[in-house]
């Protein structure tokens, strides 16, 4: 189905947000996926730089600043499109949230906290990492923390690589394996945040 401009009827491109013919901002379409809003094909393997460039180019036409003196309806549409574009960039640029979004699209909520998942190996890894961070913080060892950060960064790269394989074909045929990888990535992400806070705490103390 081809979308057409609500004002002049001309055919709309992807995303169907601005009419190339009459320049009208279109009513917001809440039904579009984050990929569709960004005008990109739905894949996990995504070049973040391309995504960024694409979203910013779209923001140039749709941001509320472009409609500072326009009618209330146009201002509202622009706010809605621009908000959704920011959401698309925030979620799709992040390997964890991107994977979670794709799995949710096929009805799998791998990070749902209400679902108890027994994963003894991950639990063990978590405890080991946390103990090491606590020891480094107690010893005020900034260079040790930096080394730990690099180690965690390498682990993140490994998990993302695994996800790339699992989500290479959509919908994902091994959702349990993808879910486990997702939970591991979520833990590593949180750990990086904790390392940040510990470092900041030491530097500002």
């Amino acid at each position: 189905m081809v979308d057409s401009c609500f004002r002049c009827g001309a055919e709309l491109g992807a995303p169907p947000a601005l009419c190339a013919s009459c320049g009208a901002v279109q009513p917001f379409r809440a039904d579009l996926s984050l990929y569709a809003v960004a005008g990109l094909p739905e894949t996990y393997d995504l070049d973040v730089q391309t995504l960024r460039t694409q979203v910013l180019a779209l923001q140039k036409g749709l941001h509320p600043d472009r409609f500072a003196n326009a009618e209330p309806a146009a201002r509202r549409y622009s706010l809605e499109w621009s908000t959704r574009l920011n959401e698309a960039l925030a979620i799709l640029r992040d390997p964890l949230r991107r994977a979670d979004y794709l799995l949710q699209r096929q009805g799998v909520d791998a990070l749902d906290e209400r679902v108890k998942v027994a994963d003894p190996e991950l639990l063990m890894t978590q405890m080991t990492y946390r103990e090491r961070l606590e020891d480094l913080a107690a010893a005020r060892d900034l260079s040790g923390m930096e080394a730990l950060r690099q180690e965690v960064d390498t682990a993140v790269t490994g998990v993302v690589q695994r996800l790339r394989g699992l989500l290479g074909v959509l919908p994902c045929v091994e959702p349990e394996a993808a879910g486990a990888a997702l939970r591991e990535l979520q833990f590593l992400d949180k750990l990086l945040g904790e390392i940040d806070r510990s470092e900041e705490h030491l530097q500002n103390a």
């Binding site: 320049g23 910013l56 923001q59 600043d65 908000t83 920011n86 925030a90 940040d196 900041e200 500002n204």
Partner: protein, 621 residues
């Protein structure tokens, strides 16, 4: 035929006339106004040639008001009625400013909501005081430009929270300004630098003004200014250096520290000495304590630097935090821009250079760089510039909700690009529960008591159901100005009640609660109110179109037609002052009907102008 069809969308009645737009830097110690004149962003001066307007307002008995230098001159004799640094009080409650109270000689009125000052002209809110400053800047612009500006961009510290932004916007409205955008000061500075140099890369903007400190990390690429992170301290600035020096002077000199006149004198001398020491190594401070002999004190730059070092150091944690939030290392920074008069202090420049490991950029006057950027952005927003320039800002402070035990649940984290929306679902926890209390806060701390309370309201009129069955969806929408709207909606029964709350210190909690309660119990009234506001917008648009059309082409009408149209116009103005949507809409329609001959003739004459000079063949189809 509608009046609005006279001009094509986006084109002015006269395409050659530039639309007037101004940028305003509403600063703690000074304010400025600028505009793009003949493609050059220019700071406007007063009759004496000054471009800085001291942000000082003096209320006189009998309704008189002095703003700027005359007010500064009187500050020593009339401290209670002379308000300086009012920006520090914007959007602040009485409790917030207790820590500042020792520094400020004003008579603060205790009470709920935004703090108020007792003056000879009555109680004044910081919004009203700021509006007086904005009025003077607007007058200066009108005189310089030869007409009313269509819109203004007003800069705020990036670290300003929701209440402070809202207060700034309220002040502008009070001064009769149409605010196109509130722009973060560091972003404005980047615009001024970016356009001048056409540079691309990642920049740190270190902005130490009179009363606020901001550090922002921006990426400039392909016409998009993207704020990556911002951090700062809304209670740190050059004033703190003055106060540090003044405290030292008072300890050295004695005198009555609670005497506002004495404090004012010492503070002024401290500021003068600090400024002098940016250029020279040593200066003399002259003090005349009441009832004692005048004294001169020698102060060296080294002494000053040791006194202000603790103040300057307070800016470093924010610099580290901003870098971390942006996910960057020091070596990723391509340039450092200095903004704000306080960055003239050599010790500040030295510390910035040491921290960022590079010499900061200082080509543009640090006092003017923000207002110049604001003027450029204002010019772009009213449609004068064809350049593809876009500013993407971030939310300066996290937004959250109070949960059990006085804890904060963050809904939108700081440094999220705006506009942004997030929804959160809530449910009832008791059978038959018909109300729910929601408390919106802003800040980074885990406890509600350490964050700024933005709005506290109850949702009432929830249909009674078993516990956990109701679905209350609360949506937070932050617009491009960083202003928040909260929308609450009960979805499980298909009962759609929603309301938009603009939390601000202008509204107290009761008013907000009442607004929400009203929306749930009086949904129909809301529809009426919305219809009224839509009718008013439309009516004002028709009136404006009529005024423009008559100004340009009144001669196309004969006297009888003119009389009918004038009558319809007057009826519309009267209707607009009332609050009946039906009357306003009818009056607007009457104007459109009466204006039909004029519209038709304007179209014909425009068409004639357009086809003049074209051959008959061109008109064949």
């Amino acid at each position: 035929m509608a009046l609005m069809q006279i001009a094509e969308p986006g084109t002015a009645a006269d395409p050659h006339r530039r639309r007037l737009a101004i940028g305003i830097d509403l600063g703690t110690t000074h304010s400025l106004v600028a505009s793009v004149l003949s493609a050059v962003p220019t700071v406007m001066r007063d009759h004496d040639g000054n471009y800085l307007l001291p942000s000082v307002v003096r209320y006189l008995g009998g309704g008189g008001i002095h703003v700027g230098y005359p007010a500064v001159a009187a500050a020593g004799q009339d401290p209670h009625n002379t308000i300086a640094s009012v920006k520090r009080l914007m959007g602040r409650g009485h409790g917030d400013v207790q820590t500042l109270a020792g520094h400020l000689p004003y008579d603060l009125v205790p009470g709920e909501g935004m703090v108020r000052l007792r003056t000879v002209a009555g109680e004044k809110s910081p919004v009203e005081v700021s509006a007086e400053i904005l009025r003077v800047l607007k007058e200066r612009a009108v005189e310089t430009l030869g007409g009313e500006p269509e819109g203004a961009v007003i800069t705020v510290p990036a670290y300003f929270d929701e209440a402070q932004r809202q207060a700034t916007k309220d002040a502008a409205r009070l001064a009769g300004l149409n605010v196109l955008r509130l722009l973060a000061e560091p972003t404005a500075a980047a615009v001024a630098y970016g356009l001048d140099k056409g540079s691309e890369g990642i920049f740190a903007i270190y902005d130490l003004g009179g009363g606020t400190f901001d550090i922002s990390i921006l990426r400039l690429q392909a016409g998009v200014f993207e704020v990556l992170a911002t951090a700062g301290d809304s209670a740190l600035g050059g004033d703190d250096m003055d106060h540090a020096l003044a405290e030292w002077l008072m300890r050295e000199e004695g005198g009555d520290a609670s005497d506002p006149l004495w404090r004012r004198q010492v503070l002024q001398q401290a500021r003068t000495a600090k400024e002098a020491l940016s250029a020279v190594d040593e200066t003399m401070i002259a003090l005349t304590p009441f009832g004692r002999a005048a004294r001169e004190i020698k102060l060296s730059r080294a002494q000053l630097e040791s006194l202000i070092q603790p103040v300057i150091q307070r800016s470093l944690p924010a610099c580290r935090r901003a870098l971390r939030d942006a996910g960057l290392k020091l070596t990723d920074i391509d340039g450092v821009v200095l903004v704000g008069g306080a960055t003239r202090v050599p010790a500040v420049r030295a510390m910035v250079e040491a921290f960022f490991q590079q010499r900061p950029l200082t080509d543009i006057d640090p006092d003017q760089v923000v207002v110049l950027g604001a003027a450029i952005q204002a010019d772009a927003l009213v449609g004068n510039q064809r350049e593809d320039l876009l500013l993407m800002d971030v939310l300066p402070l996290s937004l959250g909700l109070e949960t059990m035990g006085g804890l904060v649940e963050k809904i939108i984290p700081r440094n999220t690009p705006i506009p942004v929306a997030r929804a959160q679902e809530f449910t009832t926890f008791k059978d038959g529960q018909t109300a729910m209390s929601i408390h919106v806060v802003q800040g980074e701390r885990d406890l509600v008591q350490d964050c700024r309370s933005l709005a506290r309201f109850s949702l009432r009129g929830i249909p009674p159901m078993v516990a956990g069955a109701a679905r209350i969806r609360v949506t937070f929408q932050v617009d491009a100005d960083g202003l928040l709207a909260v929308r609450a909606e009960e979805t499980s029964t298909g009962v759609r009640s929603e309301v938009v709350v603009k939390p601000s210190y202008g509204l107290n909690d009761e008013e907000i609660a009442r607004m929400l309660q009203d929306s749930f119990t009086h949904g129909a009234e809301d529809v009426v109110r919305r219809r009224l506001s839509e009718a008013k917008v439309e009516g004002e648009r028709v009136h404006e179109a009529l005024r423009t059309a008559l100004a340009a082409d009144a001669d196309l009408l004969d006297p009888a037609e003119r009389e009918v149209l004038d009558k319809a116009g007057t009826a519309l103005i009267n209707a607009l002052s009332g609050d009946d949507a039906g009357v306003i809409t009818a009056a607007a329609e009457a104007v459109e009907t009466a204006a039909e001959p004029l519209v038709q003739r304007r179209m014909d004459s425009a068409l004639r102008r357009a086809i003049t000079g074209r051959s008959i063949d061109d008109l064949g189809d």
